[in-house]
Amino acid sequence: MPTWTSYVLLLAVLGLFGVHLAVPATRAWVWKVLAVLGVGGVVSGSYLALAVAPADHEMGDVYRIMFAHVPEVWMALLALCVNFGASVAFLFRKDLSLDALSEACAEVGLFFGTIGVLLGAIWGRPTWGVWWDWDPRLTTAAIMLVVYSGYLALRKFVDDPEKRATWSAVVGIIAASDLPILWFSVRWWRSLHQRQSGAGKMDPTIWSILMWNTAALMALTIVFAYQRYRIAQATRAREVALPSALPPDSGDVPSEAA
């Protein structure tokens, strides 16, 4: 499978997202195209990862987990970086839709982070020999999961939308201090986890299949974040319209935060 096909998919996803951002009139349908691309990309990407990719010279078939684990963690970091950006922006321009974006990205980031770490544990058992170990990378990943669970819990405990937005922006900025340490931990310190790989360290077919899955999961990340953003926006509209008539469980946080 030539590498350019994966880059075409990646560019298509990014381009569609650009259209979605630039032309508000297209927002009703662009996400549907992205959803189709994402679902189709994951289905075909799974086939490529499980059937087409060659077995690794060292790890055999177990390394096929990489095609899911790596893009999931990338997407988690991407979403959480957007959460950081939106948190900073909110403190400058008190716009509640920025708060809705932070909320959406934190949840999507925590979702991808959780399954990414879970897959890492499943991969670790047959290759490292252990499900888990407190090396710098895994420790910072665990901190990321609990810190952002706390962030989502905070949102549940504050009723006033303005205060909730400001406080969670503050917590989001402080929480983001873990992200650079998480990313660079494998470079700064000796760890059990291997360093970030790259196109130069992979067989071209393996790299292009990884890129294909990354593009597919990126499309799904955009769709998830956009849909979650719409839910958050609608909740805010209700809160502003009828602050006193709110049911106590509004501003729902899904089970990931538990």
């Binding site: 403190l91 504050v158 406080w167 503050v170 201090s177």
Partner: protein, 241 residues
């Protein structure tokens, strides 16, 4: 408590007083409240001592094990007590809307942060000193050799707890379920600093064959800079209306 700050300057000075001056006033006011009741420090000491006792009950009579893990128990005791201390330091402000009074004074919110954070630090630091003899008695560790290094570790570790602790306590004190929220937000964030504190204390208590103490202290100092810088910048946003 507002009288105290008024006496010290605001009423008699036409121009706003400086950041560090007002921080000192907030710090002094908290210290005065604490001195008059002495409730908080007593409760903290009791709580932390009980925590250390509970660890020793839970693990049974294995002295070697207790000695090996003494640094971890010390820091868990301090951490649990810090939640009480931080929550209390903002309860006195929310109770009679004193925070609004402070803001109307007007006190720069960053001064409130500095005053509160610097005030909670010595409280925890004093607590940790009370815990040291208990650590020696219960866990049979020897602290005489590295007392100076231990003081440094305790000071840096307590400072690393109070900066994010102050900002999160301010948030939690105004939210529902504040007793749940503060540890939920604070504990995960403190994991790296706590890890460095425990490692550094363990090296002091058990010897440092690889001369790693300096690096752990450096790491702790790095976390302190991050926490204090971010906390100082972001605190005004937390207390604004």
């Amino acid at each position: 408590m507002i009288d105290a700050s008024a006496e010290r300057g605001i009423a008699f000075r036409p121009q706003p007083i400086g950041l560090f001056h007002s921080a000192a006033i907030v710090f002094w006011k908290d210290l005065l409240i604490e001195w008059r009741t002495r409730a908080r420090l007593n409760a903290l000491i009791f709580f932390a001592v009980a925590t250390l006792l509970l660890f020793s009950f839970a693990l049974g009579p294995d002295t070697a094990l207790l000695r090996q893990n003494a640094a971890g128990y010390l820091w868990l005791g301090i951490l649990f007590a810090s939640v009480l201390s931080l929550g209390e330091s903002f309860r006195v402000e929310t109770e009679n809307s004193s925070m609004d009074g402070l803001k109307l004074a007007p006190v720069d919110a960053r001064a409130v942060f500095l005053g509160k954070a610097v005030g909670n630090g010595p409280m925890l630091f004093a607590l940790s000193f009370v815990l040291l003899p208990i650590l020696v008695a219960l866990y049979d560790v020897s602290i005489a050799g590295g007392l100076a290094a231990l003081v440094g570790v305790l000071a840096l570790g307590c400072a690393a707890i109070t900066a994010p602790g102050t900002i999160y306590a301010a948030i939690a004190s105004n939210a529902r379920a504040r007793d749940v929220l503060l540890p939920l937000l604070l504990f995960p964030l403190l994991v790296p600093a706590l890890l460095a504190s425990v490692k550094a204390s363990a090296l002091v208590l058990q010897g440092d064959p690889m001369h790693q103490l300096g690096s752990w202290l450096g790491l702790l100092a790095g976390f302190n800079l991050i926490y204090w810088g971010l906390g100082f910048t972001l605190f005004p946003r937390v207390v604004e209306d």
